[in-house]
Each structure stands twice: as C-alpha cells, then as structure tokens.
C-alpha cells in the first residue's frame, strides 16, 4: 500500500499536470500564455484548498485535527511566554493547594487508624440530658462500663487535657509541655508499644503510687537528645517526682488521632481516685472501646 506521503505527492503532481495541460490547450486555442494561465486557474479553482480537501480524504479527521489543535496551542503558548507563565503558575498553585488539602484531609479522615484492629475500635459516646452527644464520662461511669463487660476492652484518657500543661524540671532546663493522662490500658489497648521502656503499670495509676511519665518521641529527642539511658531517670513533673518509664515511637502521634493540632509530649498515668473527685460537674474521661 502506498504511504500517505506518496498519495499526497501523486495528488499534487496530477493537479499540476492538469493545469499544465489546460494552459497548453488554451494557448493553442489562441490565448496568450498569461491569459491562459489566469483562465486555467480560474476554471480550476483554488488549488491549495482543493489539494487540502484531497488530502483530507486520507486523514482520520477527529484524531488528527485534535493533534493539530494541540500543536497549534503549543505554538501559541510559545509565542506569548508571559501568558503561558501566568497560566502555568495559576494551575500549579491550584493543583498544589488541592493536593495539600487533600493529603491533610486524607490523613485525618480517610486513613485507617494506625492502631491494632482499627475497625473494632469505637468511641463511647452518650446522649446528654439536653439531647447533645457527649464523649466525656465520669470515673464511675467508666468503671461501670468496664464491669458491664459490654466491650472486650476499654480504655480512657483524661478529657480536659487540652487545658493542662506540665512543668518539667529537676534534671534539665525547666520546660512546659502539653500532656495527657491516660489509663494504664491505653497503650496496650491501641497496640502502641513504647519504643523504649514500658507502658504504665496499675500501681502507677493508683493514688499515691510511684510517679511515672512516658515521653513522646519528639520530647525525647529535644530534651534528652535521644539518649537511650533515659529510662529510669528521675525528674520533677509539676513539682512532683516522677520516673521516666517509657518513650513512645515517632509513629505514635496522640494529637493526630485524638486532638488535631495539639502536640502531646508527655503521658501521665490517669489516677482514677484523683479524677473521681473531678467528676462533677465535668466528666473527666473519654472512653474508647474495643468491641
């Protein structure tokens, strides 16, 4: 089969031949050469557009015209660089912003929780007297739920942690960090083991028990330069002695799941007997259940 180039060339040549022959015939019939050429062209028609039409027969119009349009558009863009730059910037900005927002939302909302058995985890909520949904419980409520054994496992953390800050002193420069009180079962419940050390023991969660604190990975790096001998180190937390019993891995981010925007640096044991007194009128605990 002939290539398309060949077809085009043949077409071109035969059209030229036609004109030549016609001119010859007209000259022979008495016209001057110029007149003949003019007349021939007139009677033949617009050579360029006719040749174009002849070629179109062999083209796949939609796809090819699409390609031509793209090439035309690119040429135009190249001819007006300022416009192109602005357009590209705007597009880039829009796409970038979109991607950024999406990745944040995706991480917050769509990603499954990086905990053990995420689809069996549940927030325990309850309906208040005024019809609103609440996530906070008194210690007594928590203990009831636990005893009822409605859930395979239950854990809790202090609800009002956003308002607490902890003063660290005694072993290095004093510092104030955000922290949250968690039940002894909190870390095992979520399947988040400390990188160093261990989670809280029940003894540490009892009134007047040994002071203990678990550090976040970030705090460990900042305050202790990631030294592995921090376990067992003594310091003062809110002017009370405490021992560092564990360090959480960098992948554990309390804030990301429970309090977006908050950077939690220390975990304290939730001593129910203390929190019990806080109970009214606030609810002091938040419950999470494993079903």
């Amino acid at each position: 089969m002939f290539t398309r180039g060949q077809l085009y060339r043949d077409l071109s040549e035969e059209m030229r031949q036609h004109l030549d022959e016609k001119v010859e015939a007209l000259v022979q019939s008495g016209l001057s050469r110029e007149e003949a050429v003019a007349a021939a062209r007139r009677e033949f028609g617009n050579v360029t557009s006719l040749e174009e039409r002849g070629r179109e027969v062999w083209q796949w119009p939609t796809f090819e015209s699409f390609l031509f349009d793209i090439r035309y558009a690119l040429r135009q863009l190249r001819r007006q660089p300022s416009f192109t730059v602005v357009a590209v910037l705007i597009l880039g900005l829009g796409i970038g912003a979109n991607t950024a927002v999406f990745s944040v939302v995706d991480r917050l909302l769509f990603e499954p929780l990086a905990f053990r058995d995420p689809d069996r985890l549940a927030w325990i909520m309850r309906m208040n007297a005024n019809g609103r949904v609440g996530r906070s419980w008194t210690v007594a409520d928590y203990e009831n739920l636990r005893d009822m054994e409605a859930f395979e496992e239950l854990t809790t953390y202090e609800a009002a942690f956003a308002r607490s800050s902890y003063k660290l002193s005694g072993d290095a420069d004093p510092d104030r960090v955000a922290g949250v009180m968690v039940a002894a079962s909190f870390f095992p419940f979520l399947g988040a083991s400390p990188l160093l050390g261990r989670p809280f023991t029940d003894a540490e969660c009892r009134l007047n028990g040994p002071g203990a604190v678990i550090l976040s990975h970030g705090l460990w790096q900042r305050r202790y330069s990631g030294r592995s001998d921090v376990i067992g180190r003594q310091l003062m937390v809110n002017d009370r002695p405490a021992t560092i019993v564990g360090v959480m891995p960098p992948t554990f981010d309390f804030g990301a799941v429970f309090a977006p925007g908050v950077q939690i640096d220390v975990y304290m044991p939730a001593v129910f007997d203390v929190l019990r007194d806080w109970a009214t009128p606030w609810r002091s605990l938040r419950g999470t259940g494993l079903m």
Binding site: D10, L11, E14, H18, R53
Partner: protein, 98 residues
C-alpha cells in the same frame, strides 16, 4: 456517478475526464474543474477506482483512473436509484400539469 460511468467506458486521467463531462453535457454542467480531484481521492479511498501512472495522448505523465468491480457495482446501484428518483419526479410533474 458520472465519473464512474465515464471511466467505465474509457479509463482516463483527470483533465480528460473534465473535458469529457463538459463536452458530453454540452456545457450544461459547469463544474469547478479542480473539485474533481478530491472526489477522485475519495473514490480511490472507498475502493471504487484504481489509479495507475501512464502516458497520455499528449505524451504527458498522467494518472489514469479505472473503475474496480466494487466501483462498477456502486455505479449500478447509483444509476438505478437515480433513475427511480427521476421517474418519480417526472410522474409528479406530469400529474401536476394534467
């Protein structure tokens, strides 16, 4: 249709074709000569014509067209449908006059 008919009787090249049509219709049909070529290309693509380079009466290198079997079949279909249409129009005009 007229192209196929002409070429059926005598394969020829483009210029000769236009001359023939002009002569045969006694100049009643005024066609833009060049428009023949896209039409020929289309018929080539459809497979109704085949083209070969040859030499004309005036010793020029020309492309000579001739109908293919499917071209002849098409000619027949076109002719009969045209004649039917013509007959129909004629009848309508006849009754209108009467």
């Amino acid at each position: 249709m007229m192209i196929l008919r002409t070429l059926k009787r005598q394969p020829m090249h483009g210029y000769a074709l236009t001359q023939h049509i002009k002569r045969a219709s006694d100049d009643l049909l005024q066609i833009e000569e060049g428009s023949l070529y896209p039409a020929l290309q289309r018929m080539l693509k459809e497979g109704w014509l085949k083209a070969a380079w040859g030499v004309s009466a005036t010793n020029r290198r020309v492309r000579i067209y001739s109908p293919t079997p499917s071209g002849l079949k098409r000619l027949q279909r076109e002719t009969s449908s045209f004649e039917r249409m013509l007959e129909g129009i004629r009848r309508v005009l006849a009754t209108a006059e009467a």
